[in-house]
Protein backbone atom coordinates (compact mmCIF):
# COMPACT_ATOMS: atom_id res chain seq x y z
CA UNK A 1 0.00 0.00 0.00
CA UNK A 2 2.94 2.27 0.61
CA UNK A 3 4.07 1.73 -2.95
CA UNK A 4 0.57 2.41 -4.18
CA UNK A 5 0.47 5.66 -2.28
CA UNK A 6 3.77 6.78 -3.73
CA UNK A 7 2.40 6.13 -7.21
CA UNK A 8 -0.61 8.24 -6.53
CA UNK A 9 1.45 11.10 -5.25
CA UNK A 10 3.81 10.90 -8.16
CA UNK A 11 0.99 11.02 -10.69
CA UNK A 12 -0.55 14.05 -9.02
CA UNK A 13 2.71 15.98 -8.94
CA UNK A 14 3.53 15.20 -12.54
CA UNK A 15 0.24 16.67 -13.64
CA UNK A 16 0.74 19.83 -11.59
CA UNK A 17 4.05 20.46 -13.29
CA UNK A 18 2.32 20.44 -16.65
CA UNK A 19 -0.43 22.88 -15.68
CA UNK A 20 2.11 25.14 -14.02
CA UNK A 21 4.07 25.55 -17.21
CA UNK A 22 0.84 26.37 -19.07
CA UNK A 23 0.15 29.20 -16.66
CA UNK A 24 3.58 30.65 -17.01
CA UNK A 25 3.27 30.67 -20.76
CA UNK A 26 -0.17 32.26 -20.68
CA UNK A 27 0.94 34.84 -18.15
CA UNK A 28 4.02 35.73 -20.18
CA UNK A 29 1.93 36.54 -23.24
CA UNK A 30 -0.52 38.55 -21.24
CA UNK A 31 2.27 40.41 -19.48
CA UNK A 32 3.69 41.72 -22.74
CA UNK A 33 0.45 42.62 -24.54
CA UNK A 34 -1.73 43.84 -21.70
CA UNK A 35 0.88 44.98 -19.17
CA UNK A 36 -0.70 42.97 -16.44
CA UNK A 37 0.02 44.03 -12.90
CA UNK A 38 1.38 41.89 -10.12
CA UNK A 39 -2.22 41.07 -9.22
CA UNK A 40 -2.36 38.56 -12.07
CA UNK A 41 0.50 36.72 -10.55
CA UNK A 42 -1.26 36.65 -7.23
CA UNK A 43 -4.42 35.26 -8.83
CA UNK A 44 -2.38 32.69 -10.72
CA UNK A 45 -0.52 31.70 -7.59
CA UNK A 46 -3.75 31.22 -5.64
CA UNK A 47 -5.19 29.11 -8.43
CA UNK A 48 -1.99 27.12 -8.65
CA UNK A 49 -2.27 26.23 -4.99
CA UNK A 50 -5.92 25.33 -5.54
CA UNK A 51 -5.12 23.02 -8.40
CA UNK A 52 -2.16 21.48 -6.62
CA UNK A 53 -4.32 20.42 -3.72
CA UNK A 54 -6.96 18.95 -6.02
CA UNK A 55 -4.92 17.02 -8.56
CA UNK A 56 -3.85 14.20 -6.24
CA UNK A 57 -6.40 12.08 -4.44
CA UNK A 58 -8.71 14.08 -2.26
CA UNK A 59 -11.74 13.40 -0.15
CA UNK A 60 -14.05 13.53 -3.16
CA UNK A 61 -11.96 11.59 -5.69
CA UNK A 62 -9.99 8.57 -4.60
CA UNK A 63 -9.50 4.87 -4.84
CA UNK A 64 -8.20 2.98 -1.83
CA UNK A 65 -7.10 -0.57 -2.49
CA UNK A 66 -6.92 -3.19 0.23
CA UNK A 67 -5.45 -6.64 -0.40
CA UNK A 68 -6.75 -9.26 2.02
CA UNK A 69 -5.47 -12.63 0.89
CA UNK A 70 -3.90 -12.92 -2.53
CA UNK A 71 -1.47 -15.84 -2.33
CA UNK A 72 -1.91 -19.29 -3.85
CA UNK A 73 -0.28 -22.58 -2.87
CA UNK A 74 -0.32 -25.39 -5.41
CA UNK A 75 0.82 -28.76 -4.08
CA UNK A 76 -1.46 -31.31 -5.68
CA UNK A 77 -2.77 -32.55 -8.99
CA UNK A 78 -6.18 -31.05 -8.23
CA UNK A 79 -4.64 -27.66 -7.42
CA UNK A 80 -2.63 -27.63 -10.65
CA UNK A 81 -5.48 -28.76 -12.87
CA UNK A 82 -8.39 -26.70 -11.55
CA UNK A 83 -9.03 -22.98 -11.17
CA UNK A 84 -8.16 -21.69 -7.71
CA UNK A 85 -10.35 -18.92 -6.32
CA UNK A 86 -9.64 -16.67 -3.36
CA UNK A 87 -12.93 -15.13 -2.28
CA UNK A 88 -12.73 -11.48 -1.20
CA UNK A 89 -9.05 -11.41 -2.12
CA UNK A 90 -9.08 -7.65 -2.37
CA UNK A 91 -11.45 -4.73 -2.23
CA UNK A 92 -11.34 -1.08 -3.01
CA UNK A 93 -13.18 1.95 -1.79
CA UNK A 94 -14.03 4.37 -4.52
CA UNK A 95 -15.33 7.88 -4.55
CA UNK A 96 -15.55 9.91 -7.69
CA UNK A 97 -17.38 13.12 -8.39
CA UNK A 98 -17.21 12.34 -12.09
CA UNK A 99 -17.71 9.39 -14.36
CA UNK A 100 -14.92 6.88 -13.92
CA UNK A 101 -13.35 3.75 -15.39
CA UNK A 102 -11.39 1.22 -13.36
CA UNK A 103 -8.71 -0.71 -15.23
CA UNK A 104 -6.65 -3.67 -14.07
CA UNK A 105 -3.51 -5.22 -15.49
CA UNK A 106 -0.60 -7.38 -14.47
CA UNK A 107 2.15 -4.85 -14.10
CA UNK A 108 5.01 -7.21 -13.36
CA UNK A 109 5.84 -10.89 -13.09
CA UNK A 110 8.91 -12.26 -11.38
CA UNK A 111 9.86 -15.73 -10.25
CA UNK A 112 12.34 -17.66 -8.18
CA UNK A 113 13.39 -19.88 -11.08
CA UNK A 114 13.62 -17.61 -14.12
CA UNK A 115 10.45 -19.01 -15.70
CA UNK A 116 7.65 -16.53 -16.28
CA UNK A 117 4.09 -17.80 -16.74
CA UNK A 118 1.70 -15.55 -18.67
CA UNK A 119 -0.28 -12.73 -17.11
CA UNK A 120 -3.48 -14.40 -18.32
CA UNK A 121 -3.27 -16.95 -15.52
CA UNK A 122 -4.93 -14.40 -13.26
CA UNK A 123 -8.54 -13.26 -13.42
CA UNK A 124 -10.62 -11.01 -11.21
CA UNK A 125 -14.33 -11.12 -10.55
CA UNK A 126 -16.39 -8.72 -8.51
CA UNK A 127 -18.66 -10.32 -5.92
CA UNK A 128 -19.98 -7.17 -4.25
CA UNK A 129 -20.65 -3.71 -5.50
CA UNK A 130 -23.30 -1.05 -5.94
CA UNK A 131 -26.12 -1.11 -8.44
CA UNK A 132 -24.81 -1.38 -11.98
CA UNK A 133 -21.68 -3.30 -11.03
CA UNK A 134 -20.09 -5.55 -13.63
CA UNK A 135 -19.89 -9.02 -12.06
CA UNK A 136 -18.30 -10.79 -15.01
CA UNK A 137 -14.95 -12.53 -14.74
CA UNK A 138 -12.16 -10.50 -16.32
CA UNK A 139 -9.08 -12.35 -17.49
CA UNK A 140 -6.06 -10.11 -16.91
CA UNK A 141 -3.21 -9.39 -19.24
CA UNK A 142 -0.20 -7.10 -19.27
CA UNK A 143 -2.32 -4.31 -20.75
CA UNK A 144 -5.15 -2.44 -19.06
CA UNK A 145 -8.54 -4.12 -19.09
CA UNK A 146 -11.66 -2.32 -17.95
CA UNK A 147 -13.18 -3.99 -14.90
CA UNK A 148 -15.71 -1.34 -13.80
CA UNK A 149 -17.13 1.96 -14.94
CA UNK A 150 -19.82 4.30 -13.77
CA UNK A 151 -21.09 7.83 -13.36
CA UNK A 152 -19.56 8.61 -10.02
CA UNK A 153 -20.67 8.52 -6.42
CA UNK A 154 -21.39 11.19 -3.90
CA UNK A 155 -20.06 8.95 -1.12
CA UNK A 156 -17.47 6.22 -0.69
CA UNK A 157 -18.46 2.97 -2.39
CA UNK A 158 -16.95 -0.48 -1.82
CA UNK A 159 -16.22 -3.13 -4.44
CA UNK A 160 -15.13 -6.61 -3.33
CA UNK A 161 -13.27 -8.92 -5.65
CA UNK A 162 -12.34 -12.57 -5.95
CA UNK A 163 -8.93 -13.39 -7.37
CA UNK A 164 -8.86 -16.42 -9.64
CA UNK A 165 -5.85 -18.40 -10.73
CA UNK A 166 -6.63 -20.27 -13.92
CA UNK A 167 -5.39 -23.90 -14.11
CA UNK A 168 -1.65 -23.60 -13.63
CA UNK A 169 -0.83 -26.92 -15.26
CA UNK A 170 2.47 -28.73 -15.51
CA UNK A 171 4.42 -26.49 -17.86
CA UNK A 172 6.01 -24.37 -15.13
CA UNK A 173 8.40 -25.84 -12.57
CA UNK A 174 8.09 -25.71 -8.83
CA UNK A 175 8.95 -22.34 -7.38
CA UNK A 176 7.48 -19.01 -6.39
CA UNK A 177 5.88 -16.66 -8.88
CA UNK A 178 5.14 -13.06 -8.02
CA UNK A 179 2.44 -11.12 -9.85
CA UNK A 180 1.89 -7.41 -9.31
CA UNK A 181 -1.60 -6.27 -10.23
CA UNK A 182 -2.18 -2.58 -10.89
CA UNK A 183 -5.61 -0.96 -10.62
CA UNK A 184 -6.10 2.45 -12.18
CA UNK A 185 -9.10 4.74 -11.92
CA UNK A 186 -9.44 7.33 -14.62
CA UNK A 187 -11.94 10.14 -14.91
CA UNK A 188 -12.26 10.59 -18.64
Amino acid sequence: MQAAKRNQEYKGFHFIGFTGSCYLRVLKIKFITLRISIKYFLVAAILQVFIFSASGQNNQNYITLQANSTNFTLNSVAALENPQTITNAFNFQLRSRYSYIIYARVQNISSSNGVYPPASLLSVQCNYGPSGTDYSKINLSSTDKEIQSGNGFSSSTTFRYDLILEPFGYNYPAGSYYYTVLLTMTQP
Binding site: A3, K11, L74, L80, Y170, A174, Y177, Y179
Partner: protein
Protein backbone atom coordinates in the same frame (compact mmCIF):
# COMPACT_ATOMS: atom_id res chain seq x y z
CA UNK B 1 -12.67 43.00 -19.03
CA UNK B 2 -9.30 41.55 -19.88
CA UNK B 3 -8.76 40.82 -16.24
CA UNK B 4 -12.06 38.90 -16.09
CA UNK B 5 -11.15 36.96 -19.21
CA UNK B 6 -7.83 36.05 -17.72
CA UNK B 7 -9.36 34.84 -14.48
CA UNK B 8 -12.05 32.89 -16.35
CA UNK B 9 -9.39 31.22 -18.46
CA UNK B 10 -7.43 30.22 -15.41
CA UNK B 11 -10.54 28.80 -13.75
CA UNK B 12 -11.27 26.87 -16.94
CA UNK B 13 -7.81 25.36 -16.81
CA UNK B 14 -8.30 24.57 -13.18
CA UNK B 15 -11.56 22.74 -13.70
CA UNK B 16 -10.03 20.77 -16.57
CA UNK B 17 -7.18 19.75 -14.34
CA UNK B 18 -9.60 18.65 -11.67
CA UNK B 19 -11.45 16.30 -13.95
CA UNK B 20 -8.84 14.59 -16.12
CA UNK B 21 -7.10 12.57 -13.45
CA UNK B 22 -6.10 9.03 -12.71
CA UNK B 23 -5.42 7.27 -9.45
CA UNK B 24 -3.92 3.88 -8.96
CA UNK B 25 -2.95 1.21 -6.49
CA UNK B 26 -1.39 -2.21 -6.69
CA UNK B 27 -1.16 -5.50 -4.84
CA UNK B 28 1.01 -8.58 -5.14
CA UNK B 29 -0.07 -12.16 -5.58
CA UNK B 30 2.43 -14.90 -4.76
CA UNK B 31 1.91 -18.28 -6.38
CA UNK B 32 3.87 -20.96 -4.56
CA UNK B 33 4.12 -24.17 -6.53
CA UNK B 34 5.40 -27.46 -5.15
CA UNK B 35 6.77 -30.39 -7.12
CA UNK B 36 3.89 -32.54 -8.29
CA UNK B 37 4.26 -35.90 -10.04
CA UNK B 38 1.42 -38.22 -10.84
CA UNK B 39 1.12 -41.54 -12.67
CA UNK B 40 -1.81 -43.58 -13.88
CA UNK B 41 -1.19 -47.26 -14.60
CA UNK B 42 -3.93 -48.89 -16.64
CA UNK B 43 -3.91 -52.62 -17.44
CA UNK B 44 -4.76 -53.32 -21.06
CA UNK B 45 -5.22 -57.04 -20.52
CA UNK B 46 -5.84 -59.22 -17.52
CA UNK B 47 -2.83 -59.48 -15.28
CA UNK B 48 -3.54 -63.23 -15.00
CA UNK B 49 -1.75 -64.96 -17.86
CA UNK B 50 -1.68 -68.59 -18.79
CA UNK B 51 1.49 -69.95 -20.31
CA UNK B 52 1.04 -72.78 -22.78
CA UNK B 53 3.68 -75.00 -24.32
CA UNK B 54 4.61 -72.43 -26.95
CA UNK B 55 5.01 -69.79 -24.27
CA UNK B 56 7.26 -72.06 -22.27
CA UNK B 57 9.37 -72.69 -25.32
CA UNK B 58 9.43 -69.21 -26.83
CA UNK B 59 8.38 -67.05 -23.92
CA UNK B 60 5.36 -64.81 -23.45
CA UNK B 61 5.56 -61.27 -24.82
CA UNK B 62 2.85 -58.60 -24.77
CA UNK B 63 4.24 -55.19 -25.69
CA UNK B 64 1.01 -53.44 -24.62
CA UNK B 65 0.44 -55.22 -21.35
CA UNK B 66 -0.43 -51.95 -19.61
CA UNK B 67 -0.40 -48.20 -20.24
CA UNK B 68 1.29 -45.49 -18.24
CA UNK B 69 0.37 -41.81 -18.18
CA UNK B 70 2.62 -39.37 -16.35
CA UNK B 71 1.79 -35.81 -15.30
CA UNK B 72 4.61 -33.89 -13.72
CA UNK B 73 5.88 -30.35 -13.32
CA UNK B 74 9.44 -31.66 -13.06
CA UNK B 75 11.58 -34.07 -15.04
CA UNK B 76 10.71 -37.57 -13.87
CA UNK B 77 12.05 -41.12 -13.52
CA UNK B 78 9.98 -44.30 -13.53
CA UNK B 79 11.57 -47.26 -11.76
CA UNK B 80 10.22 -50.78 -11.43
CA UNK B 81 11.01 -53.67 -9.10
CA UNK B 82 9.42 -56.81 -7.74
CA UNK B 83 8.15 -56.87 -4.19
CA UNK B 84 9.83 -60.22 -3.53
CA UNK B 85 12.78 -62.18 -4.84
CA UNK B 86 10.64 -65.20 -5.75
CA UNK B 87 7.10 -65.78 -6.93
CA UNK B 88 4.60 -67.05 -4.43
CA UNK B 89 3.85 -70.56 -5.67
CA UNK B 90 0.76 -72.69 -5.11
CA UNK B 91 -0.11 -76.13 -6.36
CA UNK B 92 1.27 -79.62 -5.76
CA UNK B 93 3.94 -79.37 -8.46
CA UNK B 94 4.67 -75.67 -8.16
CA UNK B 95 8.28 -74.66 -7.58
CA UNK B 96 8.94 -72.29 -4.70
CA UNK B 97 12.08 -70.93 -6.28
CA UNK B 98 10.87 -69.25 -9.48
CA UNK B 99 12.68 -65.89 -9.39
CA UNK B 100 11.28 -62.50 -10.32
CA UNK B 101 13.94 -62.27 -13.02
CA UNK B 102 11.96 -64.55 -15.35
CA UNK B 103 9.81 -61.41 -15.83
CA UNK B 104 10.88 -58.36 -17.78
CA UNK B 105 9.09 -55.08 -18.38
CA UNK B 106 9.56 -52.97 -21.47
CA UNK B 107 8.95 -49.38 -22.46
CA UNK B 108 9.67 -47.87 -25.88
CA UNK B 109 13.35 -48.50 -26.46
CA UNK B 110 14.05 -50.15 -23.12
CA UNK B 111 13.68 -53.53 -21.40
CA UNK B 112 14.56 -54.47 -17.81
CA UNK B 113 14.36 -57.79 -15.99
CA UNK B 114 12.83 -57.64 -12.54
CA UNK B 115 14.51 -57.95 -9.19
CA UNK B 116 13.90 -56.40 -5.81
CA UNK B 117 16.17 -53.51 -6.80
CA UNK B 118 14.70 -50.50 -8.57
CA UNK B 119 15.50 -50.41 -12.28
CA UNK B 120 14.90 -47.47 -14.56
CA UNK B 121 12.10 -48.22 -17.02
CA UNK B 122 11.53 -44.74 -18.44
CA UNK B 123 12.18 -41.03 -17.93
CA UNK B 124 10.73 -37.80 -19.25
CA UNK B 125 10.32 -34.07 -18.90
CA UNK B 126 7.65 -31.92 -17.30
CA UNK B 127 4.24 -31.65 -18.85
CA UNK B 128 0.84 -33.24 -18.72
CA UNK B 129 -0.07 -36.64 -20.14
CA UNK B 130 -0.19 -35.28 -23.68
CA UNK B 131 3.43 -34.12 -23.54
CA UNK B 132 5.84 -36.09 -25.65
CA UNK B 133 7.05 -39.23 -23.83
CA UNK B 134 4.58 -38.93 -20.96
CA UNK B 135 2.21 -41.61 -22.22
CA UNK B 136 3.47 -45.02 -23.31
CA UNK B 137 2.79 -48.73 -23.20
CA UNK B 138 4.56 -51.08 -20.84
CA UNK B 139 5.22 -54.57 -22.14
CA UNK B 140 5.51 -57.79 -20.16
CA UNK B 141 7.89 -60.59 -21.07
CA UNK B 142 7.71 -63.88 -19.13
CA UNK B 143 10.26 -66.54 -19.88
CA UNK B 144 10.25 -69.27 -17.23
CA UNK B 145 11.38 -72.08 -19.58
CA UNK B 146 11.04 -75.64 -18.34
CA UNK B 147 12.82 -75.21 -15.04
CA UNK B 148 9.73 -74.81 -12.86
CA UNK B 149 6.80 -77.08 -12.21
CA UNK B 150 3.21 -76.40 -13.22
CA UNK B 151 1.23 -74.33 -10.75
CA UNK B 152 -0.08 -70.89 -9.98
CA UNK B 153 2.56 -68.22 -9.46
CA UNK B 154 2.02 -64.67 -8.36
CA UNK B 155 4.22 -61.68 -7.68
CA UNK B 156 3.71 -57.97 -7.09
CA UNK B 157 5.43 -55.43 -9.33
CA UNK B 158 6.07 -51.98 -7.90
CA UNK B 159 6.27 -48.88 -10.11
CA UNK B 160 7.87 -45.80 -8.56
CA UNK B 161 7.67 -42.37 -10.14
CA UNK B 162 10.03 -39.71 -8.81
CA UNK B 163 10.94 -36.16 -9.73
CA UNK B 164 14.52 -35.64 -10.86
Amino acid sequence: MNRMLMISFLFLLGSYALKAQSFNGSFSSNINVGTVVNMTLTPNVSSNITLDGTNLQQGYNNSAFSSVQVKSNASWLLNVRSATTYFTASGIYASPNMPASILSLSSPGKQVSLSTQDKLLSSGTRGNASASGNSFNVGLIANPGYNYGPGIYSINIIYTLTAQ
